[in-house]
């Protein structure tokens, strides 16, 4: 009987029921999309911040360097969390007896670590070098030049130039193999770009310190502090915006549902005149409200996930992970709001005698 009345009510007032359902659906969609984005924005932004390069640096003790075994253990400690790129430096002399810094590194990894390096062409064979723009300006002949270290000469050919606006512009970069066979030196610095929250980075720092206790492991504060600041402020702005939107959506639901209940006051007056108690009418109305809420919220949830995914793809070029855990709060919120907006007018109506309503006042 109860169910029949519910379905009947919906069928007779199709327009009203549809508009109430649409209201709840839109509200649920907006709330879901906003909350989904809020939860995911930190991961998305942190990924963008990895483009700033290394946020952790491991430096060998004074005069020491990292053997290939140590390098391997550092790399395995970092694991999939990020990139670990070794750098070896020395001061060499050009043909004109000018001092010049030559650096040996894994060029493939360096390219991934530092996407802001403006490189005309990367070296791809032994004997090729990546020359900083300022260094290139001092060389007579870029296609064939020599650098001397400790009496050993190294013949290099410039594959391309590098511009960064910082110290790299004055250096020559070669592969780690070339560097080692020329100087016999191992890398002394490992630059690491690790992803994760502040706690995860701290854990990584501890683990690295245990792996290489003699080395200095430190976060690059310029990068980590900047990131923490921006991510924090963006999340706050997003949370406030989400609050505004959810509030407005709730208002929409409130207005629509209150109107719907108020509109049917004659029906409730008839029910009361036929002997229904206030409690029964309240149960009836809440049942309706809960049904509308659940159906509307369910559809709105799916729509909201879709909207969040679209925003993620358009703005971050990466999908926003749908959080199914959001279904419970969205459903709960929808049911709560619909119940309030349905029961509130009922309380107002209760004070009025059925006869007055039936008479049309």
């Amino acid at each position: 009987m109860y169910l029949r009345m519910l379905l009947r009510a919906a069928r007779l007032r199709k327009m009203q029921a549809a508009s109430a359902l649409t209201g709840v659906m839109v509200a649920a969609a907006a709330a879901t999309a906003m909350l989904n984005i809020y939860v995911d924005v930190e991961t998305k932004l942190r990924k963008e911040f990895r483009n700033f390069g290394a946020n952790v640096v491991v430096e060998a003790a004074e005069g020491k360097s990292f053997s290939p075994e140590t390098m391997a253990s550092i790399r395995s400690t970092v694991g999939a969390r990020g990139l670990a790129v070794p750098f070896a430096y020395t001061v060499a002399r050009t043909d004109k007896d000018q001092p010049i810094v030559v650096a040996g590194t894994d060029l493939e990894l360096a390219k991934k670590l530092n996407p802001w390096w403006s490189v005309s062409a990367w070296p791809n064979a032994s004997g090729q070098a990546l020359v900083g723009v300022r260094a290139a300006a001092t060389l007579d002949n870029q296609s064939a030049f020599r650098v001397a270290h400790d009496g050993h000469l190294l013949h290099l050919r410039s594959a391309g130039t590098l511009r960064t606006g910082a110290g790299e512009d004055s250096r020559v970069y070669i592969s780690l193999e070339d560097f080692r066979s020329w100087t016999g030196l191992d890398p002394s610095v490992v630059e690491i770009a690790a992803s994760g929250s502040r706690e995860e980075i701290n854990t990584l720092l501890h683990q690295l310190h245990e792996t290489v206790p003699a080395a200095v492991v430190r976060p690059v504060r310029q990068v980590t502090e900047g990131e923490a600041n921006i991510v924090g402020k963006t999340r706050s702005t997003l949370l406030s915006s989400a609050a505004f939107i959810v509030l407005t959506a709730a208002l929409c639901v409130l207005a629509t549902l209150m109107g719907w209940v108020f509109d049917r006051r004659r029906d409730f007056a008839i029910m009361k005149a036929l002997g229904a108690s206030d409690l029964l009418i309240a149960l009836f109305v809440s049942g309706e409200a809960a049904l509308v809420a659940m159906v509307g919220a369910g559809m709105g949830f799916v729509l909201g996930i879709g909207i969040a995914a679209w925003i993620g793809r358009v703005n971050f070029h990466a999908p926003v992970v749908p959080r199914l855990s959001l279904l419970a709060p969205v459903l709960g919120g929808a049911v709560g709001i619909t119940l309030i907006s349905s029961l509130l007018p009922l309380r107002l109506l209760r004070r009025i005698q059925p006869a007055m309503i039936l008479r049309g006042e």
């Binding site: 483009n51 110290g167 963006t234 915006s241 939107i245 209150m258 925003i311």
Partner: protein
């Protein structure tokens, strides 16, 4: 008669109209606040991105190579060219001077300390400079916000120095200790922690470094922290190859390239360029955040519009008997529609204006709470927001009005809703 009808409608049904007015006000307030946030967030985030430090660097035009590994600078003071310290205040005279948040000169010089060669870097900490009638402070404290000092920052005209954290612990120095290098004794006013090369160096006032190097008024590099517009294809074009109109547009946009160009104009024999690590990535981060806020603002506007129109439709629907009565009394469809349209427009105006004020206040408070500076909503937006509010209320009630007006007055009078 018409005016009286509308007036009476407001007077007698005040309470019912209140809900609708609240809906319109809230919807407009949220819409205004979101528009304010979306337009202002770019500037706010740009400012926050300055915590990454300098994004432009000025070096001498004819300079020899930097020879530095980590914290050790091996370039002899005698080689290379220098910039003139006296030209520094002129930075505040460029076209984009308001975008220049801070700048810091640098002069590295090697000193002998306990048998080792240590690099001492001369810089401004928070020096007061004058350009024309403007007085301002600039230095490392504002350009590199992540520098932390345990102790006190040295005064820019004193002989006190800062010792880097790692150097200080190696030599067992603390705030207040004495340090001797190059035969001179200086007071260590504080221990500097940056997480970078400075932790192994001594950082001193520029005057001291110039005296040690024997080069008064000389500066090796100038780091500049400026609020820039992310570079695009237009920014990368050579200004000398542009037409005069295009060149003006390039010059008057705060691209990193145009600010660098203007810095080169005021500092003689210099070469200015963006520091790509900071400049490239901040442009990227900024466009991501701005894009996100734009999309969210659109969502907020759509939701507000729906909220307001559904409230209006509901309110309109309730008044069917009223409409039926007026029709039975002889009101034509047109004049009937006009009454309700005028009512909803008035409602939209009142709610819109109050909502705009509320939204502006909301944006202001939010800006203060999150960014420490208020987000301003341009008053020019008021007619725009008002027009949207009127449009939305009209749209929301239009369908309901049409239905109500077409309704058979007999049914309405009989009370059959």
């Amino acid at each position: 008669m018409f005016v009286r009808l509308v007036y009476e409608s407001f007077r007698r049904q005040g309470r019912r109209k209140l809900l609708v007015t609240i809906a319109v006000t809230l919807g407009t307030a949220v819409a205004t606040a979101m528009i304010g946030i979306a337009t202002g967030i770019g500037d706010k985030i740009s400012r926050e991105l300055r915590t990454y430090g300098a994004n432009l660097v000025v070096t001498p035009e004819e300079d020899s190579l930097d020879v530095e590994i980590g914290s050790v600078n091996l370039k002899p003071s005698s080689s290379g060219a220098y910039l003139d310290e006296a030209a520094l205040p002129k930075i505040k005279g460029i076209f984009w001077s308001n975008n220049i948040l801070s700048f810091t000169p640098e002069l590295p010089v090697n000193v002998e300390l306990g048998g080792d060669e240590i690099t001492l870097v001369g810089t401004y900490f928070s020096k007061t400079l004058t350009y024309g009638t403007k007085e301002f402070r600039s230095g490392a404290r504002t350009t590199f916000p992540w520098w932390k000092v345990n102790g006190d920052w040295p005064a820019d005209d004193s002989g006190d120095v800062l010792v880097g954290e790692r150097l200080g612990s190696r030599l067992a120095l603390g705030p207040g200790s004495e340090i001797t290098f190059d035969g001179q004794q200086h007071r260590v006013s504080g221990i500097l922690s940056t997480g970078g090369a400075e932790d192994d160096q001594i950082v001193a006032p520029l005057g001291l470094a110039q005296a040690l190097a024997g080069k008064p008024g000389a500066v090796r590099k100038i780091f500049v922290s400026a609020i820039t517009k992310p570079e695009d294809a237009f920014a990368l074009r050579n200004p000398d190859s542009l037409s005069p109109a295009d060149r003006d547009r390039w010059y008057c946009s705060p691209y990193p390239q145009s600010i660098a160009y203007q810095l080169q104009e005021v500092i003689p024999h210099s070469h200015a360029q963006p520091i790509r690590q900071v400049e490239q990535n901040e442009g990227n981060v900024l466009s991501r955040i701005e894009g996100l806020m734009l999309l969210i603002t659109i969502a907020a506007l759509v939701t507000s519009a729906l909220a307001v129109s559904s409230a209006m439709a509901t309110a309109m629907f309730e008044r069917r008997t009223e409409v039926g009565l007026m029709k039975a009394l002889g009101a034509g469809r047109f004049s009937l529609s006009m009454i309700f349209i005028v009512e909803s427009v008035l409602l939209a105006c009142v709610g819109g204006v109050v909502g705009f004020a509320g939204g502006t206040l909301l944006a202001h408070l939010l800006g203060r709470a999150i960014f420490g500076s208020s987000i301003a909503v341009d008053p020019v937006l008021l007619p725009v927001v008002l027009a949207i509010a009127i449009g939305v209320t009209f749209g929301g009630s239009a369908v309901a009005i049409r239905r109500a007006v077409k309704y058979d007055p007999v049914l309405a009078l009989r009370g059959e809703a």
